[in-house]
């Protein structure tokens, strides 16, 4: 793999995002929603609140914050392949020496960086605000080490999962809205996974957070491999997969084999 080619894809994608009003608007509005709601919720909890109430509120807030890395990446990732196809740039792009892994990684990194940056920024603002203004009981739960670790580790890993799902949908469907909706839906099960910790169905601890993060990491790597296999140049260009084309032919070469 060529880092230069991946870098070229990331730079191009970033430039395009910056000039795409739809993406900019989504990236600006969604964080505001996710910033205000949890902050208000936590600030309204009185100091006299029971531990169970506090933990439930913090759990809900934590889950809401983890929605950010699940919801924002598909907005970008679902556009990644369909966007190229819609503006007629996919074929010229694929005629270059770029390998599909390079193309996918470049697209993924370009979606990952702003999504995770936004998610971390929202989390940081909420956490610091709670520290400065919310009751001590709430602050103690929010700043509980396993809680912080869960948030810090799960945010990028959930984002990566959502990105691969988004790219997979983008490579399979012809309409960006369909791809975005399906990608968001397909990403939600990962939230259920996170909610087990957020709502303390599983008692959070550092080893548990790390262990679950490792599981998510493995899932992300498997997702990358699966998406790479789904990325079929021939299907993207002609609407017919190489295998289908070859099945009725005299040989069974794979266009994907062209890298």
């Amino acid at each position: 793999m060529s880092l230069g080619r991946i870098r070229a894809v990331v730079r191009k994608e970033t430039r395009e995002y910056r000039r795409n009003r739809f993406i900019i608007t989504t990236m600006a509005v969604l964080p505001l929603v996710f910033l205000v709601a949890p902050t208000v919720t936590l600030f309204r909890i009185p100091a006299s609140a029971t531990g169970a109430l506090v933990q439930h509120a913090v759990g809900a807030t934590s889950l809401l914050l983890l929605v950010v890395p699940v919801v924002i990446p598909p907005v970008i990732a679902a556009y990644s392949v369909i966007g190229e196809r819609d503006q007629g740039t996919l074929e010229p792009f694929l005629t270059t020496p770029v390998r599909r892994e390079e193309l996918l990684l470049g697209k993924a990194v370009a979606a990952f960086v702003p999504s995770v940056a936004v998610a971390y920024a929202i989390y940081a603002v909420v956490a610091v605000s709670v520290r400065l203004g919310a009751s001590h009981t709430v602050s103690a739960v929010v700043w509980h080490a396993p809680q912080v670790l869960t948030q810090v580790l799960f945010t990028p890993l959930l984002a990566v999962w959502s990105i691969w799902v988004g790219i997979a949908m983008s490579a399979r469907f012809g309409d960006v809205r369909v791809a975005q909706q399906l990608a968001t839906l397909a990403s939600l099960p990962a939230l259920g996974f996170a909610s087990l910790v957020s709502f303390r169905v599983i008692t959070p601890s550092v080893p548990l957070a790390v262990g679950l993060a490792l599981v998510l990491l493995v899932v992300d790597v498997v997702a990358w491999r699966v998406v790479s296999q789904l990325f079929d140049r021939e299907r993207l260009i002609t609407g017919t997969s190489a295998q289908v084309s070859a099945d009725t032919g005299r040989s069974s070469r794979s266009a994907a084999g062209h890298g």
Binding site: R5, G88, E91, T95, H258
Partner: protein
């Protein structure tokens, strides 16, 4: 085609020489003499591509010499774009083999082949929210071009777009976008440039500009594979043409195709019908048969117009005829095309 004006590059020269395009751009427009490589730029043997039950390209074989401008003609749906996509490693052939820029078209060679070729699709496929320079910078990065800024500047100079480098591609006219597409095709200093309907939808001025750019590529010795259904374009630009309609119908120089398909004829017009035309034309060297005698004159089938025309002139003068004109009948590439494709049922799919 043994000799071709050009920059002297060969198909087996390294395609990633960063200085090559620089030198070529500087000399674009000049007409230096080049010697072609002995190795063909393209060798295609029995190429077949099916999509399900539909045969898009059927058992196509041809060779393109290095430095040649090769026209690939055919009606819509004839398989031209499928052939380009196959040779460009975008889609896999169902059967057959090919060598592209000296590299066998096989799974695993895709990256190497794409490094040595450029494909300009029918629509230039530019990122409209990016500037001209940003578009080229992206593709230079994908090709791993060393010193991309210098290369981009020279590619833009080659297509006379240096002044528009910072314009958004979305603000350019279709003709200018096509020029940006051609500049992009020059970035990697390709051994072969595939141009798929490069003048489709362009006005005459923009079309002329694209033709001039293709001439410029020829001048630089770049092999050009041009798919088009504009016959006058092929006739003007191409050294050889292939006529395709799923399978290959004919291949050769335009004049060769004419010779193969049409008998050679000489048209004779006189002020008045000849009294005894059989006595004038019979026995004239090179004349095989004749017909006519009406207001359109006489059509003589000849073995070689260069021999027959002077002989016919002498015979007419000797017979006292008032000769208005004697001319060789010229068939255009369009005549050839229509002869091959016009009655073809497949062309009307």
């Amino acid at each position: 085609m043994e000799e071709q004006s050009g920059k002297g590059r060969t198909a087996d020269a390294p395609a990633d020489d960063p200085e090559r395009a620089v030198e070529a751009a500087e000399t674009a427009g000049a007409s230096p003499v080049a010697t072609q490589s002995e190795r063909p730029a393209l060798v295609v043997e029995g190429l077949t591509k099916r999509f399900g039950e539909r045969v898009a390209v059927d058992d196509v074989s041809f060779t393109v010499a290095s430095g040649e401008v090769f026209g690939f003609l055919g009606p819509n749906g004839a398989g031209k774009t499928t052939t380009v996509r196959t040779l460009g490693t975008l889609i896999a052939p169902t059967s057959g083999s090919a060598t592209v820029a000296g590299i066998p078209l096989e799974p695993g060679n895709g990256v190497e082949i794409r490094q040595r070729i450029s494909v300009m699709t029918e629509t230039p496929g530019l990122y409209l929210r990016l500037t001209v320079a940003e578009n080229l910078e992206f593709f230079a990065g994908l090709y791993g071009v060393v010193q991309p800024q210098a290369r981009i500047a020279r590619a833009l100079e080659a297509v006379n777009l240096a002044a528009r480098a910072d314009d958004l591609c979305g603000s350019l006219s279709k003709g200018l976008r096509q020029r940006v597409g051609l500049a992009r095709a020059l970035l990697n200093d390709p051994a072969i440039v595939f141009l798929d309907e490069p003048t489709s939808g362009l006005d005459p001025v923009a079309t002329r500009e694209v033709h001039d750019l293709i001439d410029g590529l020829r001048g630089r010795g770049v092999t050009v594979f041009l798919t088009t259904h504009r016959l006058e374009e092929a006739e003007r630009l191409c050294d050889r043409v292939a006529i395709l309609n799923t399978s290959l119908r004919m291949i050769g120089r335009p004049d060769e195709l004419r010779d193969r398909l049409f008998t050679k004829t000489v048209l004779v017009r006189t002020a008045a019908p000849l009294g005894a035309p059989e006595e004038v034309f019979a026995g004239v060297r090179g004349v095989e048969s004749w017909l006519g005698g009406g207001p359109d004159g006489y059509v003589l089938t000849v073995s070689d117009p260069r021999i027959a025309a002077p002989e016919v002139t002498r015979a007419l003068v000797a017979a006292g005829a008032d000769v208005l004109s004697i001319a060789e009948a010229r068939h255009s590439l369009e005549d050839v095309y229509l002869e091959l494709i016009g009655d073809d049922v497949e062309a009307r799919r």
